[in-house]
């Protein structure tokens, strides 16, 4: 009896050491991918990837490695990349996926899907695009204090998302919007200017294809409907004419417009589908914010001046939104997510993404904006 027990103990303790026989990943022997750039090659339409590696080695000062490889599939591209590196390439720490111009116009979903299926890739990876071949963007050498260009681009996007200057587009959010009927993804555009990567705007995707572009200023207005602000910031250009009588006396009027900057801004939005058959929407937007900068000195102690300012801001927001919605209708890309509202109201029948894209230009939107200025800095 004692003997069998001994044998069992021996067997069980051997299990402890057997765990060492598994696949090993030694940190110093790994090339950790922080960013992938995907392009379609011009000559043969093959997938072309720019892989940026990061290596853990105290002796290396420049830990950034950029590798080019080609192939038909993502796996092949990765294996080919591994031919050019002595390190084992792993993508568990991937932070950003960058798509080049041609591949974005062709449709990025097949590549997104491959990455999504890989259990080792996080869903918090950012999806971005560039209008130049990705190699050009990723070869930028000025990446501040970040360890390499991949982490730098991630920080760039992350900071902008946290400051509410951008609409977040992680891998999860991209696929979520791609699959949802009645919503299209927006993706940040990254460009290399003077050897430094920076944000240029937002790319509008219809399904998974790049169709248009928004400037960073437009993002504010899109966010008003599609997302929410907790403490946003905006700069607006308003006509000076109506404010003439509220201008401080020592000011001469020499410009036609002036600028207002609001911050601590939060919004409350209510989208309502009034009539599913005629596709008429009613949007109520409440904006509350604080004035921090005025390019002309307007007397804010007068209540009428503030009233007028609120009105003008509301009008400006409404005008901007109307043009943006018209533009999106032309592109048939519903990045505001009006279709989501439609699918939740329409009972009994399910529509497809394509059907919604065809219907989208026919929607009517009635926008109603109310602005409330809460306070205006430390000087009245």
């Amino acid at each position: 009896m004692l003997k069998t027990k001994k044998i069992i103990i021996l067997l069980l303790s051997s299990l402890l050491f057997l765990t060492g026989c598994l696949e090993k990943n030694i940190l110093e022997e790994l090339g950790i991918v922080t960013i992938y750039g995907f392009d379609l090659s011009d000559e043969d339409n093959m997938l072309q990837a720019t892989t940026v590696l990061f290596q853990f080695n105290p002796d290396i000062t420049d830990a950034s490695q950029v590798i080019q490889s080609k192939g038909h599939t993502f796996r092949e591209v990765r294996n080919n990349a591994n031919k050019k590196s002595g390190y084992k390439i792993v993508s568990g720490q991937l932070r950003t996926i960058l798509f080049g111009p041609k591949i974005s116009e062709d449709g990025v979903f097949p590549y997104i899907d491959t990455l999504e299926r890989d259990a080792s890739i996080s869903d918090m990876v950012f999806v971005a695009m560039s209008k130049d071949p990705t190699e050009q963007v990723l070869s930028a050498t000025n990446y501040e204090q970040s360890p390499n260009i991949g982490t730098y681009i991630q920080r760039l996007i992350e900071t902008a998302v946290r400051d509410e200057r951008l609409i977040s587009s992680t891998l999860h959010e991209f696929t979520h919007k791609f699959f949802a009927v009645g919503q299209d993804p927006l993706v940040p555009i990254i460009a290399n200017l003077n050897n430094k990567a920076q944000l240029l705007g937002l790319a509008i995707f219809k399904d998974d294809r790049y169709v248009g572009e928004l400037t960073l200023e437009d993002v504010f207005y899109v966010r008003l409907i599609a997302d929410e602000f907790k403490s946003g910031q905006v700069e607006m250009e308003l006509p000076t004419k109506q404010f003439e009588k509220y201008l401080k006396e020592y000011e001469d009027l020499d410009t036609e417009t002036f600028f207002v900057v609001m911050d601590q801004l939060y919004n409350d939005v209510n989208i309502e589908l009034k009539n599913p058959d005629s596709l008429s929407y009613k949007i109520d937007i409440d904006i509350k914010g604080r004035i921090v900068e005025l390019s002309e000195r307007i007397d804010l102690q007068k209540e009428e001046a503030i009233k007028l300012l609120e009105q003008e801001v509301s009008k400006e927001v409404k005008d901007k939104l109307t043009t943006l919605i018209d533009e999106s209708k032309e592109l048939q890309a519903d990045y505001f997510g009006f279709g989501l509202e439609y699918t939740t109201r329409k009972r009994g029948e399910e529509i497809t993404k394509d059907q919604w894209h065809d219907m989208y230009p026919n929607i009517n939107v009635d926008i109603n904006v109310t602005t409330k200025i809460r306070s205006y800095g430390i000087v009245e």
Partner: protein, 370 residues
Amino acid sequence: MHKQLMISKDKQIRAAYLFIVLHTMQVGVGIAGYPRLVFMEARQDSWISIIVTGLILHLVIACMVFVLRTYEKQDLAGILHTIFGSIIGKSIAVIFVIYFYLLFFSVIVNYIEFVQVFIFPQMQSWFIGLLLLSLVWYAVLGGIRVAVGASVVFFLSTIWMMGLLRKPITFIESRHYFPVFDTAISDIFSGVLISSYTFLGFELLWVIFPFINDKKRVNRYSQLAMTFTVLMYLTITMVVIGYFSPTQLEQKVWPLLTLFKVLSFPFFERFDLLAVAIWMIIVLPNLILLGWMVTFTCKRVSDWKQKHCLVALIILTLILVWIFEDREFVNQLTDYTGKIGLGLGFIFPFLLLPFAMRHRMKRKKNHAKN
């Protein structure tokens, strides 16, 4: 076979533990894939399916407790023996042993597949099986008290994971829940069927009943356990439906684990990998309690020693795990077990109900005569 089970005081457990034990039995590998399965049937009205299943579950438990109370100190094998006599009773009990074993086996293969997909693609199935089974061996040998104690510890060490849903909840798109009541009744019913597979595990009550010290409270705690499980499944499914868009959800084999892919802490970048590892602690009580059920009922039917049944169980499992490795098989087995479970878990208690009633009536008459 001994008709009456005599269980000494030092082997008994309190009814309050039923709450945790039954709950941990119901929650296992299934929960990771369940939200998708129910969603594919009942769409955004899945919550109706879950609530209906919950109500049925309460009814089944009430019925089981009624039957068990009638025969007081008996377990399933004993009851079957009393009702159907030696031969038929034993054969039905053998069917149950096989069914319990199928449950055991489907839990272990599903978890092995999990580990291979997420963390160690190269790890051999039999090796993971060996690691798990060595723990099962240890706990089952210790008897029911060790098995129950282990589940309590494991329950307490995993229930905090519900808190991890906090982050995915911030990504919820509330419009995915509408329009309400848009699903056809037949689809809701299919949702109920799918859900009932996942809620299996409460059959433990058949076997554990004689071991319970304060039998009066059995009903209360078992019902509480069901409510808790149903609420947990409901919460998880609702979060998953809000988090994924419909078509996206249909493609995720384990939506709950994919949900964890957004978790990241400053000290732990990829929390989802840890979640798979922690999942073992969720699965272990399942295996331990099922292992105990199989071997105990086996002992009651065959007069073998429980220890010998356990050795047979472990060797058989290792061999089967080694032979059947492909995913198609795992899926088929899970479906199949679920279908059997629908009959043996949900319908069977009601079949015993008339016998139990007759037994009670007879007893009353006897009392009246005396």
